[in-house]
């Protein structure tokens, strides 16, 4: 069945690549020869050797702190172009009618469909009870969904028993039960919810309007589930025990940014939105970028000597930054780019000894140890020399300036 489904989807995909009006131009040109089917493209790419640069994003670009991120996002919303696809609320009645006729609706297309679906939820609340499920929420469970359905009066007969899907389906199968509208955002993010819904979807008084975002989301549904429909063919009034969806598909391309859906993504990581988030980057023990607040907290906890050492290093680094080319400083937006602003270990040791901070190597290393553990000071072997170590603070210039100012203020 799986292979059947795969080929089916595939066939329709290939077929539809020509079909929608978006691609009509190439068709009308008669340039079918130049059309490169996706499998051809895949093999072309797979056979050729990939040549990419050796730059590593996470090393070259420092992740932003939450404050920086929010500030930048506010600015970005001014500059970035966010298209608005015209939408007419009169579609709601049409959708509601399709739900009435025994279909469930699945919305696909690019862009967050959340706000439109929320409006639709409010629209249908005049026809029955509504339960809205944020399936993109990482901690959503089937139990949550059932708990919210349980708030429909009469569903939960006894307070102690746990509500199950079967009981919900049974309840809404009776002809005098109210209508329940289930609005599910990003159904494809939670296969468990999708599975639970498959056993509710054929109940005559439960209506489902859900959205999917992923490219491959249709693979979630097996052919028999897609074909199943409400209203048993069978004469008896027993509730059907079949599972299925009975979807009608609607293209709801909004082009709206997935702000709500990506709330739980890690903004500091390029794989932050990936579903396999469990993989933690172990090469970088300090998770996330060094923030100013974090630095202040660490500095508040260390000894006066250590503080002195830090401000010494900071002062030297700022000095270096001032003396170097302005454009270079500005382009230094990754921790490793700041390496050239750092001090060698020997130079730092000399300075520290002169300032009576650390008289020997062991003492200095002990002081630095605290900072290194918290990522306040980063070290690397200096390029070009053998074994000589460079130390620097992975903070942007203006932040470092502020921090150093704070430290000096405290000291005086």
């Amino acid at each position: 069945m799986d292979s059947d489904e795969g080929s089916e989807l595939y066939a329709s995909d290939v077929e539809h690549n020509y079909a929608p009006n978006i691609f009509k131009e190439s068709e009308s040109d008669g340039l079918i020869d130049s059309y490169n089917p996706s499998f051809d493209a895949y093999f072309t790419h797979a056979s050729s050797h990939t040549r990419t640069s050796t730059n590593v994003f996470s090393q070259r670009v420092a992740p932003l702190s939450p404050e920086e991120h929010n500030a930048a996002l506010a600015r970005a919303s001014v500059h970035a172009y966010t298209p608005k696809v015209p939408f007419d609320c009169s579609s709601f009645k049409r959708w509601a009618r399709e739900l009435d006729e025994g279909f469930n609706i699945l919305f696909y297309g690019l862009g967050s469909k959340r706000s439109i679906l929320n409006d639709f939820a409010k629209h249908v609340s005049r026809r029955g009870h509504v339960a809205m499920v944020n399936a993109f929420h990482p901690s959503v469970t089937v139990r949550d969904m059932l708990a919210s359905i349980a708030r429909v009066p009469g569903v939960q007969s006894t307070s102690t028993s746990v509500l199950t899907q079967e009981r919900v389906a049974e309840h809404f199968a009776s002809s005098d039960s109210p209508h329940l509208f289930l609005i599910v955002h990003s159904l494809d993010r939670s296969p468990k919810i999708a599975r639970a819904i498959s056993s509710l979807a054929l109940s005559p008084h439960i209506h489902i309007a859900a959205s999917i975002d992923r490219l491959n989301a249709p693979l979630l549904f097996s052919a028999s589930q897609l074909a199943a429909r409400k209203g048993s063919l069978f004469s008896s009034n027993l509730p059907t025990k079949n599972v299925g969806f009975s979807w009608l598909w609607h293209d709801l391309t909004t082009l709206a940014p997935y702000t709500a859906e990506l709330t739980f993504a890690d903004r500091t990581s390029i794989s932050g939105a990936s579903s396999s988030r469990a993989r933690v980057d172990i090469t970088n023990p300090v998770s996330g970028p060094l923030t100013e607040t974090a630095a202040i907290h660490v500095l508040a906890a260390v000894t006066a000597k250590a503080k002195k050492l830090f401000s010494l290093l900071a002062a030297k680094q700022l000095e270096n930054a001032d003396s170097s080319d302005v454009s270079e400083v500005n382009s230094a937006h990754s921790p490793h780019d700041q390496q050239h602003l750092g001090l060698t270990y020997d130079a730092l040791f000399t300075l520290a000894r002169d300032a009576f901070i650390a008289t020997n190597d062991t003492a200095l290393r002990a002081l630095l140890g605290e900072f290194r553990d918290h990522g306040l000071v980063v070290s690397a072997a200096q390029p070009g020399t053998s074994g000589s170590e460079v130390l620097w603070i992975p903070l942007r210039k203006e932040r470092l300036l502020k921090l150093a100012g704070n430290l000096d203020g405290d000291a005086t």
Partner: protein
């Protein structure tokens, strides 16, 4: 409103909105008309009702047909279950586990509702024919592990009380584990004791849906466990298979050692194609059944194509026809489809004479005057005497005309099929042609069946005497069985067939009969098999070649997402041709996607970021230039990407703020990049392989350009 804030709050996993029945419920539930310029308000409601009624009639008919299709299969499954433990082969070394495989791909899943109902109902106790078995149903999603599967099977039965009374609460500490088959055994013993069933006639039936999706290893273990308990727990398995009976999926997948434990019985279903053709034929081309709405060739084509290529399920066919009905009743004129939908003729006229309905009336008036309902000579004068009543009576005439025309078409079409079938049986292979029955239906509806019946009639003319006699008898019987009103309308051809029938007895050469008969039939077909579109006001009762909204059933989400990414502006202003994308505004995600399409299999995220930044800067500079011609250098200056190599600062005044601005700009670019990247990730365009540091893999290789 609190509901609003709750709905917006992303931290809530679920939100419940209570039923808000207070205001305007039911007042305005009908969707707005697609053709407001020739519709009236009440029409929407009436059409909705008419649609329900029409579809209800059609659905009922099809359900009957599907039901009769199911009946023999259900019967045989029930029979198999009943005798599976009594009718065993003697001399087996060990009892076999009865397994019944049902090929269910072509039908609707309600087949199993029917089977389980039949197995659980209490039938005549008098004849010792009790069917009170226990049925539980297993879906692949619950059965990924052996424990899970056993739990589903055991608890499926055990959750019912053996005495038929209240549910029993089992304490976990004193009860066996929910996946232990010994629990099922104990339960079954209790059931037999309470029912006083010494012969232990009740069977425990497990229906396994989508059997191919189950993990073979798990199923194998499960069968082995159940097989060891056969003597105490009379389990019967019904497997719902989607694959054809041969080559058998079960035999191909499971090892011989397991198959030796099972006794597999097949309950094959009639061929999917044939049942589809029969259902279409019996619903829309049956002389005794008149659907309210005749479906057109495009819908038939789509239904058949979808059935054969995508999903051979009768449920799917029903959905398609329902959608065709719903679409058909979008047309304002269809409010007139059922007789007396507007009430009695007097009321109808009253409804149509409200100011609201004037546009509709206008459209109807125009349509009637274009049609052949009014003779051309009357045209000049009749419009003056037109009233709502006269219009309605004309519609009534048109309805009768259409109904009769469609009916005669059906009869004639059935005769064509009949003749074709007869000739095929007689060994005339050429009449088969390469058209299937639905193809012929479409041709008939379009009135283009000429070549087919032409060929058939020419074959009839050449029939040898032995076959001719049988043929004439068949045709004669065909018309004998036709409904009375058809007989009255077709008296000419019937009398001719009568003549041929009578001539059979006399001493006439075959040629003398067959030749005129062929001509008569040909003429009859030519007269009756005409496009339904020729009837006046045909679009009220006939969907014609209205395109079927196929994207509702068979969508292309992938193409839609790709289109949204590559050509967002087509969605923003539909209908307008967007210019060169380089100049227009693009959302960040589209900019990033451009880079995606141009890159190789693996993408270095940093390179991608660079190209994104370059693109944004170029645009920023352009915007800066157009907006502020002077003094723009401060904001639009590019920060050099490659340090030390591209110093383009010469000649420019290094402002104190410049650094800060650039810092901000860089952060902004970074934020926008990460956001767009994560959106692409969210959509499934990126695979994090971890093979190379900060490289991602493309998942899409389509080239939509």
């Amino acid at each position: 409103m609190t509901v609003d804030t709750d709905l917006e709050d992303v931290n809530q996993t679920t939100v419940y909105i209570p039923f808000n029945a207070s205001d305007d419920t039911g007042v305005d539930t009908a969707p707005a008309s697609l053709f407001p310029e020739r519709d009236f308000h009440q029409g929407c409601h009436l059409r909705l009702q008419a649609c329900r009624a029409a579809w209800g009639k059609c659905l009922e008919r099809m359900q009957e047909l599907i039901h009769s299709l199911h009946a023999p299969v259900v019967e045989s499954v029930v029979e198999q279950v009943k005798k599976c433990y009594t009718d065993e082969l003697p001399g087996l070394p060990y009892p076999e586990l009865p397994v019944i495989s049902v090929t269910s791909s072509s039908t609707s899943s309600s087949l199993f509702d029917e089977i389980s109902f039949r197995l659980e109902e209490n039938t005549d106790e008098l004849f010792e024919d009790t069917n009170d078995h226990f049925v539980t149903r297993v879906f692949p999603s619950d059965c990924t592990t052996l424990t899970g599967m056993m739990k589903v099977i055991v608890s499926g039965f055990v959750s019912r009380s053996p005495t038929g009374g209240q549910d029993i609460k089992r304490k976990p500490s004193t009860s066996l584990a929910a996946y232990d088959i010994a629990l099922l055994e104990a339960w079954y013993r209790a059931v037999c004791d309470t029912r006083d069933d010494r012969h232990r006639r009740s069977r425990l039936v497990v229906i396994m849906h989508d059997f191919e999706q189950l993990e073979p290893q798990v199923v194998q273990d499960m069968f082995e466990i159940c097989s060891s308990y056969i003597s105490r727990v009379p389990l019967v398995f019904i497997l719902a298979l989607a694959s054809p009976p041969s080559p058998s999926y079960i035999r191909a997948t499971y090892p011989h050692s397991l198959l030796a434990l099972l006794r597999v019985r097949d309950c094959p279903f009639p061929l999917a194609q044939t049942s589809l053709h029969n259902i279409l034929l019996e619903t829309f081309f049956d002389p005794t059944f008149e659907p309210e709405i005749m479906i057109g060739p495009t819908t038939i084509d789509f239904a058949v194509e979808f059935f054969t290529r995508h999903n051979s399920s009768l449920d799917g066919l029903l959905s398609i026809l329902q959608l065709a009905h719903m679409k058909h009743f979008e047309e304002p004129l269809t409010v007139l489809a059922p007789a007396q939908v507007l009430g009695q003729p007097k009321d109808a006229a009253k409804v149509l004479l409200t100011p609201d309905a004037f546009p509709f009336l206008d459209a109807l008036f125009a349509r009637i005057h274009e049609s052949t309902l009014i003779a051309p000579v009357e045209h000049a004068t009749s419009w003056r005497s037109a009233t709502a009543d006269s219009l309605l009576s004309l519609v009534e005439t048109a309805r009768e005309t259409f109904r009769m025309r469609a009916k005669l078409l059906r009869v004639a079409f059935r005769l064509v099929l009949h003749v074709r079938q007869f000739l095929l049986v007689q060994g005339h292979k050429t009449v088969q042609g390469d058209q299937t029955v639905p193809d012929l239906m479409c041709l008939a509806l379009r009135g283009r069946l000429g070549s087919v019946y032409g060929h058939l009639c020419s074959m009839v003319r050449k029939l040898p005497a032995a076959q001719l006699e049988e043929f004439v008898r068949e045709v004669h019987d065909f018309f004998e069985n036709a409904p009375e009103d058809v007989k009255a309308a077709e008296d000419e051809v019937i009398s001719r067939v009568e003549i041929a029938y009578k001539m059979l007895g006399r001493d006439v050469s075959a040629q003398d009969i067959s030749s005129p008969l062929g001509n008569w039939l040909s003429e009859y077909f030519r007269l009756r098999i005409v496009a339904l579109e020729d009837a006046p006001l045909w679009d009220i009762w006939y969907t014609g070649s209205m395109p079927f909204p196929s994207e509702l059933i068979n969508p292309s989400p992938r193409a839609s997402i790709l289109a949204g990414l590559t050509r967002p502006l087509d969605y923003v202003s539909p209908g307008q041709q967007s210019g060169d994308d380089e100049d227009g505004d693009l959302p960040d995600i589209s900019i990033l996607f451009k880079g995606y399409l141009e890159s190789a299999k693996m993408i270095n995220v940093y390179d991608w970021f660079e190209s994104f930044a370059v693109f944004l800067e170029a645009r920023k500079r352009r915007v800066g230039k157009t907006r502020i011609p002077d003094g723009a250098d401060e904001t639009s200056r590019t920060p050099s990407k490659k340090k030390g190599k591209q110093k383009q600062v010469e000649g420019e005044v290094v402002d104190k703020n410049a650094g800060e601005d650039e810092e901000e700009w860089l952060m902004e670019v970074q934020v926008r990049f990460i956001r767009a990247l994560q959106e692409l990730d969210y959509l499934g365009f990126i695979k994090h392989t971890g093979r190379k540091a900060d490289h991602v893999m493309r998942t899409v290789f389509d080239s939509p350009e």
